[in-house]
């Protein structure tokens, strides 16, 4: 039996492009004139708005309350006045109900004292409640409410907490810089999570191309915690949950099952750091670290950005885009969302903003599939994207179900390597959507 101790089979090697920002220290971006805070920034139900136009809000005040357990509140990331509650461009490309705040330029921007309690002495339920109240979600992109992961189903025993520091998307370095500059905060967040979940073992997986991060984390591991740092093969999508679990434990999460079925919970580096920060500062999640990068940007940077900052203001702060800029992407170039409307804001799940130049995009002729098989060698979950693509184009969705379409995580590896430039990920996303519409609410 082969050992996959530090990696997985298949996958792709897109140019890393991390050198643009991997050595740029994290800096704080000044407040823009206006903030836009969508009520839908997380997986689950959107928050329920509880302010109205004209209201004065302080930094950290609740703008929208959590709507049930699978939801988190939204907070004001700066003191100011609510201009409007209405529809506004969302970074996912749609329109979303959002609270618009005119930032008070003369306010000191200090929050009300201690909005999040100290964590010592809190019971598990109280920690879960505090994390939910602070609006913490997974900062790796999916924005899954963190407190839900802190309270796994009772019928599963969680033995290992895995921290995802792979950051395998090209360009992105926000997790990298977090590990290098705030390793203590990462460990503090891990401590809170381990205590709350009653987990005794933690493994941080970091791709080998971040030796400074591995070194910083190793140097700062607390003596009383069982935390191991595991260097991982540099390969996309090493940071995909199932790939990471396989690399760390050697176990495959069964098709269609959650990681808890194999006794692990995965949390992103940025998310544990956010948990730590919330308990350290007593402030809810109102800002995050964003990598702003790409050859189409004049001054790439890693920035602490107030949630709700418009992309236009963010790019302007980085001295704007070059004349050759062609595409703005929210997130990384493999799974991110392209956007033409720069009025959309940075939200909690925004890992980065990447500006591609002409010639870097995939605008090119599409050819018929020549069955070269590269997509099969790229797919990290061993699907047959070529065949799935044929079925998608002829809308034979039931056939796709039999071919395990549900195991496709839309990582884009197949479309990346396809010499025919067939938009396989897009076809699969559309197919998933069509299937979901065809069978409403089965579970």
């Amino acid at each position: 039996m082969m050992s996959f101790a530090t990696g997985f089979r298949h996958g792709v090697h897109p140019p890393e492009e991390k050198g643009l920002t991997s050595h740029v220290p994290i800096r704080r971006m000044p407040y823009p004139d206006e903030l836009v805070l969508p009520l839908r920034q997380h997986a689950g139900k959107p928050a329920k708005v509880c302010v109205k136009a004209g209201d004065r809000v302080e930094r950290g005040d609740v703008l929208g309350e959590a709507d049930g357990f699978m939801s988190v509140p939204i907070h004001a990331s700066a003191a100011g006045t609510v201009v409007d509650v209405g529809w506004w461009p969302h970074p996912d490309g749609s329109m979303a109900e959002s609270v618009r705040i005119k930032v008070d330029r003369f306010a000191p921007q200090v929050a009300r004292p201690r909005m999040v309690p100290h964590w010592e002495g809190l019971t598990t339920q109280q920690v879960v409640k505090a994390v939910q109240d602070a609006g913490v979600v997974g900062l790796g992109g999916a924005a899954f409410p963190t407190h839900v992961k802190l309270a796994p189903p009772k019928d599963h025993h969680v033995h290992t907490l895995i921290i995802n520091g792979a950051e395998c998307e090209p360009y992105l370095t926000s997790d990298h810089r977090t590990m290098v500059e705030y390793p203590g905060r990462v460990h503090f967040g891990i401590r809170v999570m381990m205590r709350a979940m009653g987990v005794l073992k933690c493994v941080i997986g970091v791709e080998k191309n971040k030796p400074d991060a591995i070194e910083a984390l190793r140097r700062t591991v607390p003596d009383d915690l069982d935390v191991a740092i595991l260097p991982l093969t540099v390969k996309y999508p090493q940071g995909a949950e199932k790939m990471l679990i396989h690399a760390v434990t050697g176990v495959e999460v069964p098709s269609g099952k959650l990681p808890v079925t194999v006794g692990v919970v995965v949390q992103n580096v940025g998310s544990v750091s956010a948990i730590a920060e919330v308990f350290e500062t007593g402030l809810p999640l109102i800002e995050r670290i964003v990598t702003v990068s790409g050859h189409g940007l004049r001054r790439p940077a890693n920035l602490i950005v107030p949630v709700g900052t418009k992309l236009r203001d963010l790019l302007a702060y980085c001295d704007g885009v070059t004349a050759e800029a062609a595409e703005v992407i929210i997130g990384g170039p493999m799974m991110g969302q392209a956007l033409a409307n720069l009025d959309a804001p940075v939200i909690k799940g925004t890992t980065g903003v990447v500006v591609l130049e002409k010639g870097e995009t995939r605008e090119a002729a599409v050819y018929p599939c020549i069955h070269c098989g590269r997509c099969l060698d790229a797919c990290p979950v061993f699907l047959n994207p070529s065949l799935l693509g044929d079925f998608a184009r002829t809308q034979q969705y039931e056939q796709m179900v039999d071919l395990h379409l549900s195991d496709c995580m839309l990582c884009g590896s197949c479309a990346y390597v396809c010499p025919a430039n067939i938009p396989l990920s897009q076809l699969f996303q559309a197919s998933k959507l069509a299937l979901r519409r065809a069978q409403p609410a089965v579970a």
Partner: protein, 331 residues
Amino acid sequence: MSTEKLIVTASPHIRSQDSVPRIMWHVVASLVPVVLAAAWFFGVSALLQIATAVIAAVLTERLTGKGGAIADGSATITGLLLGLTLPAGFPLWMTALGTAFAIIFGKQVWGGLGQNVFNPALVGRAFLQAAFPVAITTWPSPGGGFFALHGDLFAIPLTHPLPNAVTSATPLGLLKFEGKGTAISNLVIGSTGGSLGETAALVILAGGVYLAWRGYLNWRVPVSILATVMALSSIIHFIDATKPGALFMIFSGGLMLGAVYMATDMVTSPITNLGKLVFGVGIGILVVVIRVWGGLPEGVMYAILFMNALTPFINRATQPRVFGTRLVSVT
């Protein structure tokens, strides 16, 4: 900043540098030394033969395919490969007819690039073999000066006068019908009778190694074919010494060209890595069976076409195991 110019595409937003035309034109480039070797042995006749096939292929593609399809290079490959399977003195009008047949019935009627089941060049070759069995087995000897025009290149269309050139049997034909062997060294160098591209085995092999190194050819197909042929023929040669040995088998006839350039056609070979091995082993077995026990001296073409037909079934039987579907349940 002007946002009007921003484009919006679906993820992933970047792609690898390889494209279908790039792969195809690399295959074409790797065939140039093979063409030059053919010209070295058979002179200007070889160039006329190959040029006719390529021009006929591209013209047919232009007339029957979608606009711009020529640029993908696949028609050029079909023309080159078909030309390389013909004898130097083959009447050019037959070459043109066979190539047009290859493009139309080998590719376009199936739906164009990517849709065909059989290798187009071999479909054309099979057609010519059936239609003009005498002309296609009239093998001029190599040599005779660069500008010597072999055979009946310029035969008037629809006519085929009796062969008048100096001819020689192929090594496989010699062995099968006259019981004569050929020195392995001559086979490796290529100074024997045969089709244009059959003779320069080493040049073909070098082209294959280059393509495999660049990732434009899957090594599993040629390696499994050649290994199977060598293993099987070694066993047979050990039992019956009058049968050809391993080296003779892989360096004679069209095996090298077929293994490296025809069986590896991505469109008509299995898509899975395991399937490619099955495919190669199948071709190897068929080649040995036809050559040793069949009525024909050569069997590469039929072996590949037969396995082409089995490709959909091989694909179905060799799908990879999806991640997380191990039979042992994990609790």
